[in-house]
């Protein structure tokens, strides 16, 4: 029910007077964003958990998503836009910039507001000293960062408290940090066009049904409604609760939602198969009963899907990555018979949601010239323009996709999402721009998820201690989606031995999976690296020694050297040494990941009136695309990266990479290098001709000529405006395959990681506290060392969060989402993270153009297995099922003590 009465409120906003009429139900957040233009303040979760919406009210940090707008009356409000005093940044803003305490930047305004109030109060009461980590964690307990910038946030808050950021202008490693700390970065959810309407979608409450009646007429008649859209598929089937049925565009959100309730709809409801076990049971309801329906199944992977057989809800096996299958099976049987060592087990992992703090969102506008402009929170502006053009039968030149700032993605924003389609179609019907933004429950339902996995894994060592065989059967539950492949991970590690690897999809009546940061990786390594650890225990040899003997990777070999210099690892002591309630454990796990390149990547590098401009149709979701390009270009001219104007987030620029598959750095940096060097040559020629320089050649320091050196600043002043397009040249020796798969070249090298975690287990309350972790990474030369460190920290935090807290749960009968809020879908907070120590080994990628590959996915692989191995080391009990919840641990401790 809506409440139409308006209430007058008067308040001070960032130093100015505001007087407006608000609704009884309006949140302060909606009023600040929609009516006062303060879009720096963000809607994250909408239920007071993530803190992205914090503002100062009479000097105290308050969450505005739960604050009635009427409560602003006669109060004084400061938003992130008002934190700086007359362009003089608050010390906490400088500290966040200096310490790189932000990635996508979406949660940053909330963190800044709360930190500002904390820092100011702390310094008043305690003086200019750094607070403890725990004090900072307590103060920031009501804030969540999905990118995992917590380690640097600790550093920023502590340093701001000491006063070091009171006046100095810091060195800022992240290219776009300033615009983010000022609250000026415009995300898709912030886009507001003239006459823009709000779109909302009707979703099925049933997991398996057929829509037999859908009458949109009454919704269409509601005043304020401008367009109503039928989103049913041709067969009108519903295959998961939350599936889109219809959409409405109206003058505001309340009207659109009221119109959704006007829609008359009737379902014929069928039994549903919720979860893998039920989907495989005899007589299970089938997700795709007919062969013709199976082509409707969405693809949860980033790669192409090959044809595979189906039996009921079971699709597979996919055994492409096997090597000498029969030999592998024989080795296992020999070990089982006592000749060698056999380790086997069933490992299981949960569904993990991407839940980026900026939800999936789109704003669409059809232009008078027949063109279409779409702002999308996407990881793929270039590909999205192609997909949209194809879908709507438009020339690609007519479709322009923008994504200036993207509030996190992690793989959940790579597809042509129903929200984007709805915005475009509603905008066409309404003849006006339409915005569609998922709320948090929708985001947790359909915004994207990592499939649940089950692994039956066996490793056999022969009497000589060699890996003799590996057998894996993996089942993935990506809901209605297929293509969950994990066996590739079991192929790229410990490569010498035969292996029999099979992946199956189990289709269930759940929302579709999407690629999630290292698709298949964290689940696969959870099983594989624990099995390796168990093999070391079974053979009573050191886990690193075992890995050294089985692992050919030169990158990891150097990381094993490094890990053996760590006291925490070498002094860890025997398994289950502690017998008391609290037990410490140290675990180690390794990881390996592919190196991909979008080989058509181009970066245009130009000299414009203001200096050097670098542009490409890519985007920055917090991964640092802008910074990588700026740093790459800047070093060819010895200028500050901040002096390079980086243009991205626009599909009309030259083709840039999709931010996925850890390809961004390896794609854009070589292209930027190529462009910068060619621009340098062009400028050298032009300037030399103009000034009559002899024997001129362009170098980083300037134009070196017979009579000296002309600095680039002087050269730019006399040079003509000009532009070149840099390309991603092939690696020395080419790529792994001569052809591209979906635009992707597979590099000939694998990145590697080794991680150690130290934790404490409370065996009686079931709580696991990660204390310290050390992560060693080999991904070549670092283009932006601070950002690489931030991304590594963030990946570890996401991995730990996956290991210990995150779990999507559906009601077993209805398939309705139970974990529909960030209260119930738990992600790691700042108080949950260990001290993180990072180590980069930059060697080994010299044949890669620019010597650098990505690390975004690599860094998420080892953490869960690391925790599992550390729990084993602490307690003697090996966790097999994720997450390692308190109830599971308590149960296990009870069982082992009996």
């Amino acid at each position: 029910m809506t409440n139409d009465e308006r209430v007058r409120v008067e308040f001070q906003l960032d130093g100015g007077a505001q007087a407006l009429a608000v609704g009884a139900d309006d949140t302060a957040l909606a009023v600040l964003r929609e009516h006062c233009g303060r879009t720096g303040t963000k809607l994250g979760c909408g239920h007071g958990v993530c803190g992205a919406c914090a503002v100062l009210v009479d000097g105290e940090s308050v969450k505005t998503c739960l604050l009635p707008a009427t409560a602003l009356h006669r109060r004084s409000v400061t938003t992130v836009e008002g934190l700086a005093q007359a362009d003089r940044l608050h010390p906490i803003q400088r500290a966040f910039m200096a310490e790189d305490a932000l990635q996508c930047g979406y949660c940053t305004p909330g963190f800044l507001i709360r930190s500002a109030s904390f820092v100011d109060q702390w310094r008043r009461e305690q003086g200019d000293v750094a607070p403890s980590r725990d004090t900072i964690a307590a103060a920031l307990a009501g804030h969540l960062c999905r990118c995992g910038a917590y380690e640097q946030i600790f550093a920023a808050v502590a340093s701001a408290c000491t006063g070091v950021h009171d006046s100095m202008d810091p060195v800022v490693p992240r290219y776009d940090a300033r615009v983010k700390v000022e609250g000026k970065a415009v995300y898709t959810v912030d886009v507001k066009l003239a006459g823009q309407l709000e779109g909302r979608m009707l979703r099925s409450p049933h997991a398996h049904a057929k829509v037999v009646v859908l009458d949109l007429e009454r919704a269409r008649q509601r005043p304020g409604v401008k367009a109503v859209l039928d989103l049913r598929g041709a067969d009108a089937m519903v295959r998961y609760a939350g599936q889109e049925i219809a959409a409405v565009a109206a003058i505001d959100r309340h009207t659109a939602e009221a119109a959704l309730r006007d829609i008359e709809i009737r379902y014929e409801v069928f039994p549903a198969a919720i979860g893998m076990e039920r989907a495989l049971a005899d007589g299970a309801a089938l997700v795709y009963p007919r062969r013709s329906e199976r082509k409707l199944a969405p693809n949860t992977s980033e790669g192409p899907l090959g044809p595979l057989g189906w039996t009921g809800n079971l699709r597979g096996p996919f055994f492409f990555f096997s090597v000498k299958r029969r030999k592998a099976r024989a080795a296992i049987e020999r070990a089982r018979a006592g000749a060698g060592t056999l380790v086997e087990g069933i490992w299981e992992t949960q569904v993990q949601c991407h839940t980026a703090l900026e939800p999936n969102a789109a704003v669409a506008r059809w232009d008078d010239d027949g063109g279409l402009s779409v702002w999308v929170s996407t990881q793929a502006v270039h590909r999205m323009s192609h997909d949209i053009a194809t879908r709507f039968g438009l020339p690609q030149a007519k479709v322009r996709v923008f994504a200036d700032y993207v509030g996190g993605g992690f793989g959940g924003k790579a597809d042509f999402a129903p929200s984007t389609r709805a915005a475009i179609e509603l905008a066409k019907l309404a003849g006006a721009p339409v915005r569609v933004v998922l709320d948090r429950r929708e985001e947790l339902t359909v915004g994207g998820l990592r499939p649940a996995q089950k692994f039956d894994l066996a490793l056999a060592a022969n009497e000589a201690g060699e890996l003799a065989g590996m057998r894996l059967t993996a089942w993935g539950d990506a809901g209605v989606a297929i293509g969950s492949v994990t066996s590739s991970m079991f192929r790229i590690m410990y490569k010498r031995a035969p292996r029999d690897l099979s992946d199956y999809d189990v289709t269930t009546h759940g929302p579709p999976g999407k690629p999630f940061r290292g698709p298949g990786g964290p689940p696969a390594f959870w099983a594989l690296e624990q099995a390796i650890d168990q093999m070391a225990i079974a053979r009573t040899i050191d886990p690193v020694a075992l890995r050294r003997s089985w692992d050919d990777s030169p990158v990891r070999t150097r990381l094993y050297d490094w890990v053996e210099t760590l006291d925490a690892w070498t002094q860890r002591g025997p398994i289950a040494a502690d017998k008391g309630r609290y037990r410490r454990g140290v675990g180690l796990a390794a990881g390996g990941w592919f190196y991909f390149v979008q080989s058509a990547t181009k970066v245009e590098v130009a000299l414009g009136p203001q200096g050097v401009i670098a542009s490409t149709a890519s985007q920055d979701m917090g991964n640092g695309t802008r910074t990588a390009i700026a740093n790459a270009v800047a070093r060819h001219f010895t200028i500050s990266p901040h002096a390079v104007e980086v243009r991205i987030g626009d599909s009309r620029l030259v083709e840039g990479p999709f931010s996925g598959g850890s390809r961004t750095t390896a794609s854009v940096v070589p292209a930027a290098d190529d462009g910068a060097i060619r621009l340098r040559e062009l400028l050298t020629k032009a300037v030399a001709a103009k000034l009559g320089l002899r024997q001129a050649r362009g170098e980083a320091s300037g134009i070196v000529h017979a009579d000296g050196v002309l600095g680039w600043a002087e050269a730019f002043a006399v040079a003509p405006e000009c532009s070149v397009v840099g390309k991603r040249v092939k690696d020395q020796g080419g790529f792994f395959l001569p052809f591209r798969v979906e635009g992707l070249a597979i590099g000939r090298f694998l990145a590697g990681s080794v991680q150690v975690v130290e934790l404490e287990v409370d065996t009686r309350l079931g709580k696991i506290r990660p204390l310290r972790t050390w992560a060693g990474i080999g991904c070549g030369r670092l283009i932006s060392p601070e950002l690489a460190r931030s991304q590594l920290q963030g990946g570890i935090i996401q991995g730990l969060s996956y290991a210990l807290y995150e779990e999507r749960r559906l009601d077993p009968r209805t398939g309705q989402l139970l974990t529909g809020s960030l209260d119930d879908y738990r992600i790691a907070g700042i108080g949950d993270i260990p001290e993180i120590h990072t180590h980069f080994d930059e060697a080994g990628f010299e044949d890669v153009r620019s010597g650098t590959v990505g690390l975004g996915e690599l860094v998420t692989l080892a953490p869960a297995a690391c925790v599992g191995n550390a729990v084993m080391h602490a307690t003697g009990w090996r966790p097999l099922t994720l997450p390692i919840r308190p109830d599971r641990l308590v149960e296990a401790m009870k069982a082992t003590s009996q």
Partner: protein, 312 residues
């Protein structure tokens, strides 16, 4: 409709009205479609009197005090430490800044079936408890009534340990125990329509009282408790002269553990004694299939909270 009464008397809700204090729970339920009533917003009700503790009569806390105020108030911290600890540990700093004492006591269930906007459970107009036959991983292990969701009020639990009384405008004053009843009702509290909780009365302070608070959660902070425990101890010459143990997160109401209290009264304060008494905390447990772990954890949580009070 919305109105802004200036007193609790004027705030008494009519048939289609509901009170809104800080709004931290109310706004979410509104968004979820769990309430459609007209708003009686308590914004303009006069600020609560300053907190004063009288040695013979105790203290009166106005319902619109924020939880942060209670948590940091020197007199509360000194005389009612278990209350201050509970107030300082619940939710997160920015929620405590806005949420009120009254709202905290009367907040509604956090059950994921109740808060699902599509499903209808016992509390939201349906005919069965969906958690009971569905997923009740975080639900009760004292199964006292039709609804399987634990009462979410940390303050209610702490105040139960103080035998606090609530002041009701438009109805009779009652104890906190009466406010929640015996768990056999579906409602989160027993306040009737037309009644307004205006204040909480705390009994006279106990000389030398020590307070404790512990919660079992997966993460470090900011999580609804699997179990929470509030303890009050008075130690005289090494013996326990007063013992109060209240628990939350485990039953449809906050509970007092009389059996643990009785076992400790007059006893010493060594670990073994506390642990033996804490083991009695599970006597009345009636877990659901997925909540047996809470029974396993409860003695430890109680023991921890007893130690916390003893060692403070």
């Amino acid at each position: 409709m919305i109105r802004f009464p200036t007193s609790y008397e004027l705030a008494i809700a009519g048939p289609d009205e509901q009170l809104r204090a800080g709004g931290t729970d109310w706004m979410e339920r509104r968004e979820l479609g769990l309430t459609s009533a007209n708003v009686v917003d308590l914004r303009d009700v006069e600020a609560a009197d300053p907190i004063e503790v009288d040695p013979s009569t105790g203290a009166r806390l106005g319902a619109n005090l924020t939880i942060a105020t209670i948590a940091r108030h020197p007199a509360i911290r000194m005389h009612y430490p278990a209350l201050a600890l509970a107030a300082g540990a619940l939710a997160t700093p920015e929620i405590r800044t806005v949420a009120t004492l009254g709202g905290g006591l009367l907040q509604r269930s956090r059950c994921w079936y109740y808060r699902n906007p599509t499903l209808r459970c016992l509390k939201s107009g349906g005919s069965e408890c969906l958690a009971r036959t569905g997923d009740h991983l975080f639900h009760v292990c004292f199964d006292l009534g039709p609804c399987a969701a634990p009462n979410p009020s940390t303050l209610g639990m702490a105040l139960l340990g103080y035998d606090a009384r609530i002041e009701v405008v438009g109805g009779r004053d009652r104890t906190v125990a009466e406010l929640y009843g015996d768990g056999s009702s579906v409602a989160d509290h027993q306040l009737l329509a037309g009644e307004v909780l205006s204040a909480v009365h705390l009994p006279p302070p106990v000389v030398g009282e020590r307070g404790g608070y512990r919660r079992a959660i997966a993460r470090a902070r900011a999580e609804w408790p699997l179990i929470e425990v509030s303890t009050r101890l008075q130690i005289t010459e090494g013996k326990l002269a007063l013992v109060r143990v209240a628990i939350g997160g485990v039953a449809p109401i906050p509970l007092r553990l009389d059996e643990v209290e009785a076992a400790l009264l007059g006893q010493g304060i060594d670990d073994a004694t506390l642990e033996r008494a804490a083991a009695l905390s599970t006597r009345r447990c009636t877990p659901l299939p997925m909540t047996r772990y809470k029974v396993d954890m409860l003695p430890t949580a109680v023991f921890d909270a007893l130690c916390h009070a003893r060692d403070s």
